[in-house]
Amino acid sequence: MPSTLSSPVGRTVKTPGFTSAQFDAFVATRNESGWITDRRRAAFEIYQQKLAEPLNPEEYKRVDLRTFQPGRFAPSVVAAGPVQFETLLEKSAEFGGGVTHIDGHAVASRLDEKLTRQGVLFGSLSDLLRDHRQALEPHLMARAVLPEADRISAWHAAFWTGGTVLYVPRNVAVEAPLYSLIGLSAADVADFSHTLVILEEGASATLLEETGSTTTENSGLHVGAVELLVGQGANLRYVQLQNWNQHVWHLAHQAGRVARDGSLQWTVGGIGARLAHIHQEVSLDGRGASGEVNGVTFATDRQLLSYYTQQTHKAPDTRSDLLYKDVLRDQARVVWRGMIRVDPDAQKTDGYQRNDSLLLSPDCRADAIPGLEIEADDVRCTHGATAGRVDAEQIFYCMCRGLSRFEAMHMIVEGFFHGVYDRIAVDAVRETLSAAVKRKLGIDR
């Protein structure tokens, strides 16, 4: 993505990267069926058109991409060797299966045999597309994240490298949570991982996903997509913990669709990355569908973490509830732009969105921009946003109890995030988020 610096003199020339030649070379390494290559080519054409157009200013004007040089990054052609990948999620619970990707290549995958016998598909996208094309093709980038949606989704659709697929057949309940790890290891690697979850009618599952770096200094790029397709009466809990090191650029288009009486609980953790921008959409398509979105964001140093969220009510009696909590320190910035959209026939909708920011330093900055767009006339839609410093009296109280200022500050941060933790029913998620926050605070090294 070349950003334009429109200075009259001495314009800094950027390397746009991801040219036609690079695309052809990339496709040649993939060894995929014709239909996949055709889709990639179509998406690359859209990507090139979108490159010529400006990004949607509503979504991107607060996301400073001027120092972003996509030309530095390229997908990794070879799979990484065995790498030590320290993850918070993996060791925190009993899992029914897991998939691990390093530098865009699946390196490990397992699923409980009992689940395999029940028809559950879980593994790497490249493998499953080859073996189960019929089940997956109608869903892949056709219902939730469309290549033509914007530049990021087109870029992703042209270059997706791997990712995790979960397919749960009708009325199958996957009790134990599953995990998916996306790792970046080598320097300047672009990861285009794709997450596709399909729950058929009455199915239920929990998928925990974590992204992380194996080094603290290697820069990387993630252009990702997440698609969550929740069938009638199905119930999905999905968590994505973004835990890259602070030199990774994270751009993602993520969308969930919930059918009649289905429910989706979606939790996002934003801890790492130099800059992260996530476009997150929840669409309630069927009567009685519900979506709960939780966010825990902790930004320090010069990080910029940005979220553009949409809750779309397309049918009557649907419910959505979004709660993002951000903590900022140093010169960090967090941007949240949220929208609740209610279609004309989505009567009796109950929509809520809320963003709370806790500012730990004078130089950090939080932008919260909630919005409502309501076309029905019998709904309950509310929103709110707060931003503030840590209350000096609370600190004083903790210090009276023998805590240092540092400890007091961190206890207050923990308490602030508890509002979100309390909504998450899965212990592994609560523990993992809390561990990630503690580690970043520097109290659990």
């Binding site: 610096l5 429109s6 200075s7 009259p8 003199v9 001495g10 314009r11 800094t12 004007k61 607060r62 400073d64 001027r66 120092t67 130099r274 010069r302 910035r333 900055r365 932008d367």
Partner: protein, 103 residues
């Protein structure tokens, strides 16, 4: 980052000109006013967006969106809606080279 880095050459920027560049992973705007050079972070402290094409009058740069003005020598805000300063960088001229360092 305490080291100075070459970011431009003298003949690149005429008097009254400017150059957008990336230094220390930040977007920076370098000005030449007469024979003096000044560098500020290219982000308005009011809305967090670029000052790149803002009007320069004397030593003050005006934000193209809401009209906030900053002194490019110190980063100090000169009028509403800005109340916070913008970051500045140290500029050195060595021969034909212009070098930048973090303050």
């Amino acid at each position: 980052m305490s080291e100075f880095q070459q970011v431009a050459t003298l003949d690149e920027i005429p008097s009254g000109g400017r150059k957008s560049l990336v230094f220390d992973d930040r977007a920076v705007l370098l000005f030449r006013i007469g024979d003096d050079f000044y560098a500020v972070e290219d982000v308005c402290s009011h809305d967090g967006q670029p000052l790149t094409d803002g009007k320069l009058a004397g030593t003050s740069i005006e934000c193209p969106r809401h009209g906030a003005r900053f002194d490019v020598r110190t980063g100090r805000p000169l009028c509403m809606p800005a109340v916070e300063p913008i970051a500045t960088f140290e500029v050195r001229v060595e021969g034909n080279n212009i070098l930048l360092g973090a303050l």
